[in-house]
Amino acid sequence: MLEIKNLHASVNGKEILKGINLVINDGEVHAVMGTNGAGKSTLSNVIVGNPAYEVTEGEIIFNGKNILDMKPEERAQEGIFLSFQQPVEIPGVSMTNFMRAALNAKRKHQGLEPLPAGEFLKLMREKRKIVELDSKLANRSVNEGFSGGEKKRNEIFQMAMLEPTFSILDETDSGLDVDALRIVAEGFNKLRTPQTSAMVITTTSDCWTT
């Protein structure tokens, strides 16, 4: 599924990744552990194409395609998803409009028609239940005023909506209490299939055993 070869990347001229090699096959979940500042988040940002990071050498092959020349949205439409360590608040953009734009962009990429409004809302309702987010979600602005736990659950909710084939969970476990952690972990497990893979970035070793 994903193959990273001799990847070098830098931020503001400072080299952070110095030759990473990694192969993730279908159905595998890899854990990436390391001390703070080791470059875990840099790796995830480079995979999803954050323009703030510069790749100086190496390549990333995703399902046979070199994705380094692709825009972030193209990589997302190909099926790569990042659960952000710090989800961004977007005041004024409702979750409904946000998810509709994202889902329909993906469908367009797959050559499908936009999902009719009724079906879309039904899908929102179904997926919301996976992470136990309440019904007010639809009208709220993206992550605005969400608690730390809600933001992380919202990331998994978006993952459920978009059904990526490869997900990166960047410290999705951090800052969660035991209940929220259970919800997020169970949600994530429900979404796993033999065809999907994931990379889990964490600083603690015991969180994903639940």
């Binding site: 004024g92 734009a101 962009a105």
Partner: protein, 447 residues
């Protein structure tokens, strides 16, 4: 020839014709307006309130005028189906400066309410028009007022008698229609007597691909305990130049909600002067500007707190792109004795390109010692983090930008109290940001 000279000559040559095709209360102020205009000339950029707009340049071209009142062959009800779905309004048209009185809607206005031609009202209700006409828009202070008063022949008159509540919103569509380049001098007089209440929607459109120059003066009297909502929407094209001066005077316990939205235009200058004359009056003044290409919008406001215990809220937002050049200057004046004033003024601007310019100048002047006032302004660009977050979810770059711009504009739209209008504007703003023609269905052109 200086820009002023052609208007001076025009007046001298056509004085008789101007008066013949207008009404006495309007003609009565013409000569003084002419003297004032000669005296003032067009304001240069050294005049504080015209700092950001080159007035003489805008008035320099030679436009035609329809002083002879030749009927314009158009049935706006047919060419123009600018309706707001789910909003039942009493719909009227003003073609250029002429109230369209053929095929009037069978609207049932409450008894005593007048919506019609200013010229006709000046003939049928001269005492009413005389009492108010020209008393707020002083010709000695502002050249646009002087020019408009000197040349205007007609326009709109709205009158709501004491304690009458007009339930159904009144929609006025100002249509600019001409086969040659045209100058239009439109005059509007709105009077709400004590306890009256009305909601109004003014939409400005230009349906011909011609250069239009409009001067408009709106005088609004909001009587004691009267309630006014007035939404002004400009949706014209790039060949359109608009100078609009709006004056409103509010009496005790009155409320006013004034929204001014520039969706699409060429060059626009809006002056809005609100006076809170009576105690406990409340005013909300909001604006939204969406401009790109080389569009210009200059909003210049004054909220004059003359009486105690009044409240004013002002929110203007601009979303600019390409080479748009816009300005906001808002002065809040709290006079001596206007104690317990609460006033808030906010201007926020989003610039989408390096060439877009905003000149912003919030001003607060306080001569009372027991007030709560704030003023502020921000200029910024779209958040990179939010952009990346959206793109990571697969939303294309342009779509993500559009969603963020829309979100920025949304809180001005939220102040619109008519739900159906709010929905319609959401739709139009969305279309505007998508770069689709920001026109109503049925309108022949808007580029």
């Amino acid at each position: 020839m200086s820009a002023e000279q052609q208007y001076i000559e025009l007046y001298q040559e056509t004085k008789g014709m101007l008066c013949r095709h207008s009404a006495q209360p309007l003609n009565a102020l013409r000569e003084q307006a002419f003297e004032d205009f000669k005296q003032l000339g067009f304001p240069t950029r050294k005049v504080e309130r015209y700092k950001y707009t080159d007035v003489a340049e805008a008035f320099a071209p030679n436009y035609g005028l329809n002083l002879n009142r030749i009927a314009i062959p158009v049935n706006p009800y047919e060419v123009f189906k600018c309706d707001v779905p789910n909003l039942s309004t009493s719909l009227y048209f003003v073609v250029n400066d002429q109230f369209y009185d053929k095929a009037l809607p069978s609207a049932q206005l409450p008894e005593g309410v007048i919506v019609g031609s200013l010229k006709d009202a000046a003939d049928t209700h001269p005492e009413l028009v005389k009492k108010y006409y020209g008393t707020l828009a002083r010709t000695s202070k502002d050249a646009i007022n002087a020019l408009n008063t000197m040349l205007c022949q007609d326009g709109l008159f709205v009158y709501v008698p004491k304690n009458v509540i007009v339930e159904r919103p009144i929609q006025i569509v100002n249509v600019l229609r001409s086969d040659v380049d045209l100058m239009v001098n439109r005059r509007v007089l709105i009077v709400l007597e004590q306890g009256a209440s009305v909601k109004m929607l003014f939409c400005d459109h230009a349906i011909d691909d011609r250069n239009f120059l409009t001067t408009q003066v709106i005088e609004t009297y909001v009587g004691e305990n009267a309630h006014l909502e007035l939404y002004e929407l400009e949706e014209t094209h790039v060949k359109n130049t608009r100078f609009s001066n709006m004056y409103a005077d509010q009496q005790t316990y009155s409320t006013a909600v004034l929204d001014n939205i520039t969706l699409h235009n060429g060059m626009t200058r809006n002056r809005t002067d609100l006076t809170l004359s009576g105690e406990y009056a409340e005013t909300t003044l909001n604006g939204l500007v969406i401009a790109d290409k080389e569009q210009q919008v200059d909003n210049n406001t004054l909220i004059d707190h003359k009486a105690a215990h009044c409240q004013s809220n002002q929110l203007y937002k601009y979303v600019l792109d390409d080479k748009a050049r816009c300005a906001f200057a808002g002065r809040v004046l709290v006079r001596e004795g206007a104690q317990q004033t609460t006033s808030q003024e906010t201007n926020a601007n989003l610039l989408g390109s390096k060439e877009a310019r905003i000149y912003t100048q919030p001003m607060l002047e306080i001569y009372a010692d027991d007030v709560k006032c704030s003023h502020g302004s921000t200029v910024g660009q779209l958040g990179e983090q939010a952009m990346f977050y959206m793109r990571q979810r697969g939303i294309p770059y342009d779509e993500a930008r559009m969603l963020l711009k829309f979100a920025f504009a949304a809180d001005v739209l939220q102040t619109i109290k008519l739900d159906a209008l709010h929905d319609r504007l959401n739709y139009l703003v969305d279309k505007r940001f998508r770069g689709e023609l920001s026109k109503c269905e049925g309108c022949k052109m808007c580029k």
